[in-house]
């Protein structure tokens, strides 16, 4: 009986809360209006006092008039399995912010809200939700992992008109989504190039070890499509396994003399060490992520001799890249990776889209983001140069931004023109042996 009384009391509390809530909604109803069809700034059709007449319909409290910064968002792998790439992106992003804010966009600065995707789809989606729905950014740079980029696009971006530009995702799957732009070329080009190189080197049987995620699966699928010979071994492995001996043993037992690795640095290092300790010899080939100074440091001399790696290249022979590289080395005491170059270009592209757009909304930025890098217009290689050409009131087709990572030039699927660089390991150093395009 007493229990019932208590339960009744609780129910009363709930009722009270509910009533209060409804009352609250009723009160605010007077301030509510509906939008017309056109997304132009509001005529306040009735409702509420003061305030109104915002010129943009983003409601960030930070737009304190004309001197506020333009805020865009970035989903980066600050932690998790891809955090090494996240760190490279951060460096490129910071350098780009310096370039942009040194000149300014119509007197205003650019600021980037960075959220962590933890290299996971779930966390990446909630990061994007925060950026899009809480921080109300019209432009999101994200993400590193291909699975994460796709998850973000499907679940958050697709139903809005926010622009999404992935800095590092290489899975061929992204090509199927024209609304999802990316700065790094599709992995399909790498896989095709690798297939060509391996068959030119005279091998007809290859053993493929690939990491079991969207990146590895995408590149492996593209490779198997492009490869005409025999695939003697074709098995995935997980990141962070305690032992890769069975992978290496099986590759050896497959009797293929060409071994292709589509995986990340730590995993490849473990496998190379394992192969060395077992006395296996084969011709190694690798996709982009197996390259790194840590790999060289942790493998014995001569163990990787002759290995060929295909990576998306930065425009290393261009002046703007070299300036970028020297600024990078000054700031961070290391040479930039192409991932940092991609992130750099993402920020510059975003800034240029903002500069040429009619207003700071997703819809307007969608109109300009592709055109600022397309071939119509004067070629510019730095942000400062671009702003000069644009002047007060430029339009996106006045300029053709050539990034430090290449000419960009988004195609109709949102993919950039792909340039690849081929490295060879000679005397335990990476030596560039050529370029090829998609």
């Amino acid at each position: 009986m007493t229990a019932d009384d208590n339960r009744l009391n609780r129910r009363d509390v709930l009722k009270g809360t509910g009533a209060a809530g409804l009352a609250g909604i009723g009160l605010t109803a007077g301030c509510v209006s509906t939008a017309d069809e056109t997304p132009t700034p509001t005529e306040s059709s009735g409702g509420g006092g003061g305030g109104g007449g915002d010129d943009d319909d983003t409601a960030t409290p930070t737009e304190g008039g004309d001197m506020g910064a333009y805020e865009i968002g970035m989903v980066n792998s600050l932690t998790g399995s891809l955090s090494a790439f996240g760190a490279r992106n951060e460096r490129g992003m910071e350098l780009a912010l310096e370039s942009v804010n040194g000149v300014g966009i119509g007197g205003r600065e650019l600021s980037i809200i960075v959220e962590d995707s933890e290299s996971q789809a779930q966390a990446g989606v909630s990061a994007a939700q925060k950026l899009v729905n809480q921080d109300q950014v019209p432009f999101v740079i994200g993400a590193v992992g291909s699975g994460v980029s796709l998850a973000i696009y499907e679940s958050v971006i697709q139903s809005t008109d926010v622009v999404q530009l992935s800095q590092n995702s290489t899975s061929p799957d992204l090509t199927n989504f024209p609304g999802l732009l990316r700065m790094s070329p599709t992995g399909r080009t790498q896989s095709t190039a690798l297939a060509d190189i391996i068959s030119e080197d005279g091998y007809d049987s290859v053993a493929v070890a690939w990491v079991n995620n969207d990146y590895g699966q995408g590149l492996r699928d593209a490779f198997v499509d492009a490869w005409e010979g025999d695939v003697a071994y074709d098995s995935p492995h997980d990141q962070g396994q305690s032992s890769y001996s069975s992978t290496v043993s099986e590759m050896a037992n497959s009797e293929a003399d060409a071994w292709l690795f589509i995986t990340y640095q730590p995993e490849f290092t473990a496998m190379a060490q394992e192969a060395f300790s077992n006395g296996y010899e084969a011709q190694y080939y690798g996709a982009d992520s197996v390259q790194g100074s840590d790999v060289l440091a942790d493998t014995p001399e001569g163990s990787l001799e002759g290995m060929k790696i295909v990576t998306p290249s930065a425009a290393v022979e261009e002046q703007n890249y070299q300036d970028f590289a020297s600024r990078f080395e000054e700031a961070y005491d290391q040479t930039p990776s192409s991932w940092a170059a991609f992130a750099y270009d993402c920020v510059i592209t975003a800034a240029l889209s903002i500069a040429t757009a009619d207003e700071f909304t997703g819809a307007a930025l969608q109109e300009t983001v592709r055109d600022v890098t397309r071939p119509e217009g004067e070629q510019v290689t730095t942000f400062a140069e671009a702003m000069e050409v644009l002047g007060e009131d430029g339009s996106p087709s006045d300029i053709d931004y050539q990034g430090v990572s290449g000419p960009i030039d988004f195609d109709e699927n949102g993919d950039p023109v792909g340039f690849l660089q081929i490295f060879s390991v000679e005397d335990h150093e990476y030596v560039s042996t050529g370029f090829t395009s998609a």
Binding site: V32, Q122, Q134, A151, S159
Partner: protein
Amino acid sequence: MSVTDRLPRTGLLDGYTRAERGVVGFVVLLMLLLVYGLVTGGLGPTYFLYLIGLVGMYVLLSFGLNAQWGYTGLINFSVAAFFGIGAYGTALLSADSSPIAGNMLPVVGLFVGLVVAAVVALVIGVPTLRLRTDYLAIASLGLAEVIRILVQNQRNYTNGSAGLRGIPGFFEGWPVLETFPQAMPTLIVERLTLTVPFLFEVDLFGFRLGQSFWQGLLNVSLVLVFVGVTYAMLRRVHRSPWGRVLRTIRADEDLAEALGKDTYRFKMQSFVLGSVIMALAGVFYAHLNLYVSPGDFEPINTFYVWIAVILGGSGSNRGAMFGGFVVIAIREGTRFLGDLLPAAFPTLGIPFTDLVVSFPALVENTYATVVSNFASTRLLAVGLLIILVMRFRPEGVLPPQRELIWPEATEGPDPGSDPGTKAVSADGSGASRGGQTDE
């Protein structure tokens, strides 16, 4: 034996334990903060709805685990597996990138997801439920990993690591609700400035409620329905004779056996029930996220649900709700914390002088490391939280009390208590206090 026994039985918060009052107070405060945030435009409404959706999902998962651990004492570490089965079950049927079916109605997917979960629960239960509790824990974890590995590698059936995209919203195919988000007009709530002369001025509102908002509202309504139905069902079940047997099994399995109950059968039923509820959460997740991948099966998700249940109160559904809420607060709230904390350890300026106190390098470096590596810090905080909760309040914040008392049994002095409640909580409300409901 607390003061409230002798107070007259009137008023709103009577009969609530101290813990419950604390929680109510906390929740009220939080509600006020949230309302303030919403009203002043500090908190985006669509994002808020998304968070509520996540909370609802964790609440469902906690309900499911509660039905196994809280009621029957089963240690089940395969929560993530059933969550994933629910998600994949509906995704495989309704997504357009599904390799084995696709483009079916999500309701069918819901049904199939739940059925598959029940079947898998049987399959996992048969070998494991006869084991002693800690073996059950490891075995269930191992089998959950088997399921994860299968889903990740059977690319022809599940798309492997690429995951399943193109999952429609849950209300696809329903007459009104399918196009509800598109059909509803975009509301613009004007920004107001509220000025109290000489006191303060505050900006209110100023947001635009478009399609995402209505979609979010729809999702939240859906999860609330799921949560409500599950809660009602579990309450019913718990009070039934079946539930009583489960509680006896939890307290003392030998006693239950001695009373002639086939404990294995009861444990299996409880296991299947809990697993189906977890799969329900997975189904909701698939239609919320519109993308599923093998990463959803990772064991870390299981551990988070356990934290929710332990923290909230094992065996209590309200506790499970509270726990689910806390877990989301930890996971998502720390995003904001990263923004709020200054990057460098602040130095103290002594007022009216030019002196500045700065702390030794060790402190500053540690602070810098902690703040810039937020994921590690969050992991540390979660670990410490678990340890502290187990140390100081092992039964959780809201342990089951009223649920365990048979309503009729609270008349008169009668240890209507349950032999199994070890509710030796800080406010001394042991279950063996006679008569009154809790204290």
